[in-house]
């Protein structure tokens, strides 16, 4: 397991150093959420009602934009080839990279969610629950996006292709995430069913995402 953790630590170190852009996703999240009221209007009652949806869409877009860097820089400098030839199974290597990516780009989104929720007039008592849905759901976004990142690096096309590939796959996460957040704020539907489905989506994508991404990289880069 030593190679696994050292790869994880290496990826996290790269992303927090100069040029890594670990907090860029969180900054993008803040800006997207700020832009929404300019389009919708400063009506606090309306913002409170659609607040969870705005938060979830913002988190989805922010984690999507960060995906571009997951394999691209390693592919450019050749370290991806070394990883593929190395002793660590490619599935595990990809999983380590994904976990490091989530810790540096997904977790900051969860951390700043309460502040953004405050700006959207989301009820203070429900803020913890809304953050909890993002904590449970953003790993799924990263692990599903992993497949798209692998595809786009194999095809040497980044940017919009990645979004087109990944966004449809994240629809279930969005549905159950917003459902759980809304249940926590307004009810009357119970919080547990959508939340447990959200956790299930994260866990399933944690298993399937690295396998699919490793297969994509093997086929694409040979």
């Amino acid at each position: 397991m030593n190679a696994f953790t050292s790869l994880l630590v290496r990826d996290m170190r790269i992303s927090v150093r100069v040029g890594g852009g670990a907090l860029m996703g969180a900054l993008f999240f803040l800006i997207v959420v700020t832009m929404m009221p300019f389009a919708i209007g400063p009506d606090l009652a309306l913002l409170a009602r659609i607040g969870p949806a705005i938060l979830w869409l913002g988190a989805l877009l922010a984690s999507l934009l960060a995906l571009d860097r997951l394999f691209a820089t390693d592919h450019d400098d050749g370290s991806l080839d070394l990883l593929m030839m190395g002793g660590l199974p490619l599935e595990l290597a990809v999983a380590a990279k994904a976990i490091a990516h989530w810790l540096t780009t997904g977790l900051p989104l969860v951390v700043i969610t309460p502040v953004l929720g405050l700006m959207l007039n989301v009820e203070l008592g429900a803020m913890g629950w809304v953050s909890l849905t993002l904590l449970a759901g953003t790993p799924a976004l990263t692990f599903i996006g992993l497949i798209g990142a692998a595809l786009s690096v194999a095809l040497r096309r980044g940017g919009l292709l990645l979004a087109v590939l990944v966004l449809p796959l994240t629809i279930p996460v969005l549905i159950f995430g917003v459902a759980a957040a809304n249940a926590a704020i307004v009810g009357p539907a119970p919080f547990a069913p959508p939340f447990t489905i959200l956790c299930a989506l994260s866990l399933a994508s944690f298993v399937l995402g690295p396998i699919a991404a490793a297969a994509t990289l093997r086929h694409g880069l040979e």
Binding site: V18, G19, G21, L23, M24, L27, L30, I31, T34, P37, F38, G41, P42, D43, L44, L47, L118, M119, N121
Partner: protein, 246 residues
């Protein structure tokens, strides 16, 4: 001594090391005086003691805008004269400006809770302050992303100048947006005229914060110059090591 001599980084460092303790002492003194005046200033008859937040809120708001002005002047120096000290001045000002804007937003939101009943309102002033904060974060992100300091600071200088042109436009459009969607009845901006018993402490606090800005700015400039020297020394050392090995 001509002003141009100040632009030499080494001379700048020696002058800074002489001026900075005095400046810091003056800042502390003015803050002590200002805070004493603030504590004795009368409370607002409607808001009570919460009005004292204003003495932090308003000066930081002023300074957050002045700091962008400093950054734009430094940006001109960077782009027109390619002066390294202007680079340093711009880079040192950005985080301080972001911090002042952040303090302004935080105090505003803490003030809003007892007076308006909510931490955040999408009011024109608050919102344009938030946009200013986002612009500062953008500049910081640019410095943070650029691997070569020189190239990063030129890019940030262009961004600072674009911001200087754009900030009034943003402010205007945000005001248009806000009045378009709701009447100004949500809350009324300030009192009509400020009483001298409140205005004078406010001005003293503004002066103290301005001194604080210059103290922090000079200290940050000194640190940045030293940081760049350390960086170039390390690069030279690495080159010599590489030469010795080959």
């Amino acid at each position: 001594m001509p002003v141009i001599d100040l632009a030499n980084p080494t001379r700048f460092l020696s002058i800074i090391s002489r001026v900075l303790p005095w400046l810091a002492a003056a800042t502390v003194l003015l803050f002590a005086f200002g805070l004493a005046r603030v504590m004795t200033a009368p409370d607002d008859y409607q808001q009570g003691a919460t009005v004292k937040i204003m003495y932090l809120h308003v000066p930081t708001a002023w300074l957050s805008m002045m700091c962008w002005g400093v950054m734009s002047m430094a940006a001109l120096g960077t782009l027109v004269w390619r002066h390294p000290l202007a680079d340093v001045a711009g880079k040192a000002a950005a985080p301080i400006g972001a911090a002042f804007t952040f303090i302004c937003l935080i105090t505003g939101s803490l003030w809003g809770r007892p007076t308006w009943g909510t931490y955040w309102v999408w009011d024109a002033r608050l919102t344009s302050m938030l946009v200013l904060f986002l612009l500062y974060l953008g500049v910081l992100a640019l410095y943070w992303t650029a691997e070569d300091p020189g190239r990063g600071s030129r890019a940030a200088a262009i961004l600072a100048l674009v911001g200087a042109v754009n900030i009034p436009i943003i402010k205007f459009s945000v005001e248009y947006w806000n009045t378009l969607h709701q009447p100004a009845s949500l809350f009324r901006k300030g009192g009509s005229a400020i009483d001298p018993s409140i205005l004078i402490p406010l001005l003293i606090m503004a002066g103290a914060f301005t001194l604080l800005f210059f103290t922090l700015h000079f200290a940050a400039m000194r640190n940045e110059i030293l940081r760049r020297r350390v960086r170039s020394m390390r690069l030279m050392q690495a080159q010599e090591l590489a030469k010795a090995r080959s």
